[in-house]
Subunit: 532 residues, 2 copies
């Protein structure tokens, strides 16, 4: 029984608030053309430094809206939570090819995602599903799967689609989607894989301490920036083999997605890399199916990378190029983003080299039910549900919960733990025995098969860019134990008098005790004061 | 150097927001007359049960506004923070004598209190001073002293004033103010006394867990519901002696203030009691002077009780009667309010007998500077200032602060501790050595002369009615240590480029590191990954 008034997740508002007029003059003179027929929304920047330079010059002539401040004051309860005005203005500034992409992307959100998604940021689109459905099934429905985009959503004609594989491969090759789907060329690969944004549960870090208000908003995610799907495609290793294998010295594989990415006044496509050793063990898939259906546009149609056990940022969508390179990519997303800083790093001293790259995701878990600040009337046990996950090929072996802030732990029953996968989460459930009343701190932690477990407190993992909130998940609930006589008596009286217990902060209009009861009880207790 | 944008205390708004129309029909038929000539705003209820019953009947015919919800959502940053609509409506419902008291009381606030008080509740008036002045002087200026009223402010003509002393005294007596000031009858008493509301620092409990949303709002106080004055008057013991002393069996002394008090549909005057043993040691004064000036109206003019070392609620203002009784008062403020519950008590089970009476105030302290969430650029030390207090005749012996959440403690230098008094706070100051950067938890605790110290966490002291937040005071500050080379370099660069460091969450528009610096540094660090 939850007190809905305290639900930390505000109600869905189906309509996007009216967009403000973009105060940007349109740069009609300059036209950054689309790169390929049938690839709407794809402007190539990486191949053409002069073009990228021209775009940067245009950007430098504008004054853009600031990044919205949401850390030093309470987060809005609107849906979307945040509006990406600055990012929309960037697109508008670059003229006709890109200027309408924010609106088109929003139309795709409405078309492809569940109506009641929590829109953490409207553009670039960031959204997570309502918590009820987050742990409803091991495989997340496509329309519920979280989305963390870094730019507008391109719309690519499958028939015009091709993938260029180059760099340090022996035979640079262009493959069509038909080629990739040709099982004579490439055996089909399928795997259940959880993808997690390194921002999952970031809101807890923000609530503890504000951090970097990055230009591409460090979105204030709840527990839902994680999802699991059965992905189908081909192993990248097979594709590279098809290209004659790697040249001596190649150590990393770089992906380019076609979305336009902005960083400190410069324009890029979305580029990151993964190590060859990851590819070699068949943990990098080029996927065109998600849960048996073609990829939704918002999830990378027609082809994306799925990197098992890694941060979601490496599972590049709308793949245009794959390049074998000697070292990790120096593109900004790889070099300047998704870095994990020591807690004493911040605006005053952080540098790119002082943060380490987030690749393998550590062990983590979340309590999805009950919700934080819930008022729970129960008979001695509180049902808890949630997810647990460990990246890098590890899997959750055990989930434990505590009803007292982390002193006594209960193991969740193994029969309530969902199936093991090498690269996916496990859902869990437990009826936690609870005698105590009042505010309790419920905690969950997971142990993975390598005996890794979660740091104790949010502070233990706090870092300037607010990544990877892997600390034990803690929520506050107000426990009302009906199996206790005084509580049963009070609840019965409220029921008889038609008084709702909720919200818990609403003062009772009845006296808490009759004068007679008070006198009797005070005598039993020896009065208010000693007699001598 | 503080980041003003993060100041937890919002700006003062000098004008009260327009009051809503009271939706209450005026009860013109019934007139609850003032009790005594020259005592404006004093309706006597205690002597006339039938009259009080009639008032309760009238109240029962109305539907009043709800108590404002401020715990389950962020507290308003308006000033006043909360509006006492329900309490105003109570007064309006009882007709001409009382209906305008809320407006008159607000006029007195504006007349007598500093312009920049933080108005926690506009009616009954609750206000605390701005923090700069809170610890500016050991003796709080009268216009800055916090106010926690429970009803409207009566305006009493000193020449018409009289005090009735009765009950279990041998000679019930009526005294005028002139009598009390007659040094031939009573020797003058003067003392420096701190008065503290049991709600001081309540906001910390609310932020941790919501609690009782009492009908008379459990005001969301900061650190300022405490103040110190030199009070002048007479010892109550001398007055009782003048009345022939107490009869056998008298153990408590009950005070009645003339303000009208409402509780669960009933009407009262403000009545509480203190034990005779407290009076006997000259720790209860009847005071007419505050810091050498006549009491302000808002502080109880012409006469109030000052109970040393006790909760402020016992220091009754606008004293009309003093009654010797055998046991603690059973009036609602004493019996049903200011109770201290065990943490498992709440709406589901709390009774009046199960909470104990808050009388002596325990040891407590507060950090007043810096403020929570401050971003502090320093050279290796952070200046901290605050107050420390212990009730019941104890005094602060030592104040300690920690820069690491309570592991290592530094004693504040004794020469920076203000003078000792038996019944007053001490102000303290320290330059805390701070090497660490990023978010730090600064903590303060006081040891009193009885070796009492403060509970560790807010949770340690959380209680349903949100009283007595005496846990170690903890604030978060973002430390930027200019004596560290990387920080000095970054700050210098920002200064050169004209970029403000504040607010700390605003993303930097500059690159954090040049490509060359990055390459050099990454090589020193052995690259992003192992070579083999």
């Amino acid at each position: 029984m939850l007190d809905n008034k305290t639900d930390a997740l505000p109600q869905h508002q189906p309509e996007l608030p009216t967009r403000p007029q973009l105060p940007m003059p349109k740069s009609d003179q300059v036209y950054f053309a689309e790169e390929q027929k049938g690839w709407h929304g794809y402007v190539e920047w990486e191949k053409y430094p002069d073009k990228a330079k021209r775009a940067a010059e245009i950007l430098s002539q504008h004054k853009f809206a600031g990044v919205p401040e949401f850390q030093l004051k309470p987060l809005s309860s609107t849906n979307p939570r945040l509006e990406g005005v600055r990012w929309k203005q960037y697109h508008a500034a670059l003229g006709p090819t890109l200027e309408n992409l924010p609106n088109e992307s929003w139309d795709i959100v409405k078309e492809e995602k569940a109506e009641d998604m929590i829109h953490v940021l409207d553009f670039p689109y960031n959204g997570e599903p309502p918590r009820d459905r987050l742990v409803g099934t091991t495989l997340t429905r496509n329309e519920d799967h979280f989305v963390r985009n870094h730019g507008g959503i391109p719309v690519i004609d499958e028939n015009e689609y091709c993938l260029d594989i180059g760099g340090m491969v022996n035979n640079p090759t262009r493959l069509t989607l038909k080629d990739l789907k040709n099982e004579n060329l490439f055996p089909r690969q399928t795997a259940v894989v959880t993808i997690q944004c390194s921002g999952t549960r970031r809101i807890e870090q923000i609530q503890e301490y504000p951090g970097d208000g990055d230009e591409l908003i460090n979105a204030p995610w709840g527990e839902g920036a994680i999802g699991t799907a059965r992905w189908t495609g081909v192993s990248l290793k097979k594709v590279l083999k098809h290209c004659g294998g790697l040249k001596e010295g190649a150590g990393h594989i770089e992906f380019m997605g076609v979305d336009t990415y902005f960083k400190k006044g410069q324009v890029y496509n979305y580029v990151v890399s993964v190590p060859w050793r990851k590819v070699r063990v068949h943990e990098v898939m080029l996927a065109w199916e998600m849960n048996g259906k073609p990829l939704p546009k918002i999830h990378g149609y027609p082809l994306r990378a799925v990197v098992f056990g890694y941060i979601g940022a490496r599972s590049v969508k709308w793949l245009a190029r794959i390049t074998a390179i000697p070292h990790p990519s120096t593109a900004p997303v790889q070099k300047k983003e998704y870095l994990y800083y020591t807690p004493q790093a911040g605006k005053h001293n952080a540098s790119y080299s002082s943060g380490f790259s987030i690749q393998d995701m550590p062990v983590a878990s979340a309590i999805i039910s009950p919700i934080d600040k819930a008022v729970i009337i129960h008979d001695g046990a509180i049902k808890m549900r949630g997810w647990a996950y460990s990246g890098g090929g590890h899997w959750p072996e055990r989930v434990e919960v505590s009803g007292d802030g982390g002193s006594v732990w209960y193991e969740t029953p193994y029969e309530k733990l969902s199936q093991k996968y090498f690269h996916a989460w496990r859902l869990w459930e437990i009826d936690l025995p609870v005698d105590a009343e009042g505010w309790l701190e419920l905690v969950a932690r997971c142990w993975d098969n390598a005996l890794n477990t979660q740091p104790t407190y949010v502070r233990s993992t706090w870092n300037w860019d607010l990544h990877v909130t892997s600390s034990c998940h803690r929520i506050k609930v107000f426990s009302v134990n009906r199996s206790r006589p005084a509580t049963a008596k009070r609840l019965k009286r409220l029921e008889q008098e038609g008084i709702d217990f909720h919200p818990v902060t609403k003062p009772l209009e009845i006296d808490l005790e009759s004068d007679d009861e008070y006198e009797t009880e005070m005598q039993r207790r020896g009065g208010r004061e000693p007699e001598e």
